[in-house]
Amino acid sequence: MNRNFTQAMSVKCSDPAKMEQLIELLRQWDHDQAQADIMGYMGIRILADRETPDEYLILADFGVVDPDVSAADEAARNNERPETQETARRMRELLDDDPVYRHYDWLYLTDD
């Protein structure tokens, strides 16, 4: 199995209008990535915390596209791209605080 990788970003956004802007920003990111050269980025999920209003978890998934490069390395390369840095900067502007990042390798998936 090619081990996938997920970058999790815990964020807080207390302004619903800004949250809408954040979703639109990431929707646009997806559209841009679909037209860009292939890299490890697979897609994103934005989850709202039901117990804690205004808190969200953003999960960015990465996979293997080159047998010699791990998904985690693809994610690291992605982080270095100017467009990623710019999107992260615009994202931070919409949030109450800086995101808290955590990084995960996939160990099991129902589909596998």
Binding site: D30, A34, I38, Y41, V65
Partner: protein
């Protein structure tokens, strides 16, 4: 079949055909070797387009640089279509091994081909189905349907493949085809809709007017309207398109009806209950659709979505076939079960039921 044997096949050099086949096999074979489905399909396409039978399961691999040498004198469009055959060989796999998708990209790079469909296949291999669909939709038919719809491809539009707005005038125009003589293109396409219970463009639940263009091709090419017929018709339409991006149609239908990589295209929904490409004879039927599409491209040189079918609706079907340059089906495709438009074999269960209710028979 051995060499040019009719059916409007261009003359080919058996040595080149074999070398290209070796390159394609080397690009698309999983680590366990070429699958039977891959071999049958690629072999059938090579036979239909070149007249030569090459045993794809008995070929030595050819390296990317060597394939590039073989195709050095060929133009970019030719090399791009060779790459599309590689992609086709990938798309029938589920899953597509990352190593295969990566290898095909290397072959494309060696051939100097930068192709979006190579990228789509890599996204499938990666598991990025959402991005793949966005990529595929923008790489092909969205522009086709926008253009056929009369809109500027650059004009903002919510979804060109979403159902059209209700337009009674348009629906009436299609309904009026019923008054034409029975041998005309217009009557035949009306009969196809009416006998199967399809709603006309402009009627509630009718197809987008741009997409409905392909229904005229069902009549001209005499292909059925079940999933197998749809795959045949879009294999033909895609290859007839002077722009290699027409390959998007076949790539999409395989994703919908064979491997299930695509959930919904907006006009067709995923249906993988009965694999299409793996059905007996379908590799030959798809290959013949591609061959016929190539002949149409050589004779007509226009995207079949742009053809003014309505202007020719009152002409006999055979006359319009001449104008467009539609060659007959090959004997091999007929023997493989390529169903005629008006036969029960070319209809889905639902279509047959409606046909029996409305016409009291068929076939």
């Amino acid at each position: 079949m051995n060499g040019r044997v009719g059916n409007d096949i261009d003359e080919h050099d058996i040595e080149e055909v074999t070398l290209v086949a070796r390159g394609i096999v080397a690009a698309v074979a999983p680590e366990t070797g070429l699958t039977d489905v891959q071999a049958e399909l690629l072999q059938a396409i090579a036979a239909a387009l070149t007249g030569y039978h090459v045993d794809y399961l008995a070929l030595e691999p050819l390296a990317p640089a060597d394939l590039a040498d073989v195709l050095a004198a060929r133009d970019l469009a030719y090399r791009q279509r060779i790459v599309h055959h590689m992609v086709l060989g990938e798309l029938v796999l589920r899953p597509i091994p990352v190593v295969v998708a990566h290898r095909v990209a290397k072959y494309a790079e060696a051939l100097g081909v930068h192709d979006n469909f190579v990228r789509v296949a890599r996204r499938y291999a990666q598991g990025a189905y959402g991005l793949a669909w966005m990529d595929l939709a923008r790489s092909g038919f969205v522009e086709h349907v926008q253009n056929a719809d009369g809109a500027s491809p650059t004009a903002p539009k919510q979804s060109p493949i979403a159902p059209s707005d209700v337009n009674p005038e348009l629906a009436a125009k299609w309904q009026a085809f019923a008054e034409l003589p029975h041998d005309t293109l217009g009557f035949q396409v009306w009969d196809m809709y009416d006998s199967r219970g399809f709603e006309f463009p402009g009627a509630p639940g009718g197809p987008p007017v741009g997409l409905a263009q392909h229904d005229f091709v069902h009549v001209l090419a005499d292909y059925g309207t079940n999933l197998r017929g749809e795959v045949e018709v879009f294999a033909l339409i895609g290859r007839a398109d002077p722009d290699p991006k027409g390959f998007a149609w076949l790539a999409t239908l395989i994703g919908l009806f064979e491997t299930g990589y695509i959930t919904s295209s907006g006009f067709f929904d995923r249906d993988v209950r009965d694999p299409v490409i793996q059905a007996p004879g379908m590799h030959i039927r798809v290959a013949d659709g591609i061959r016929r599409g190539k002949v149409i491209w050589q004779r007509c040189d226009m995207d079949l979505f742009d053809f003014e079918y309505h202007e020719h609706a009152a002409r006999p079907v055979d006359e319009v076939r001449e104008i467009v340059g539609v060659p007959p089906k090959s004997e091999a495709a007929l023997a493989a079960g390529s169903a005629a438009l008006d036969s029960f074999e070319g209809m889905s269960e639902t279509q047959r039921r409606v046909m029996q209710q409305r016409r009291g028979g068929g076939g």
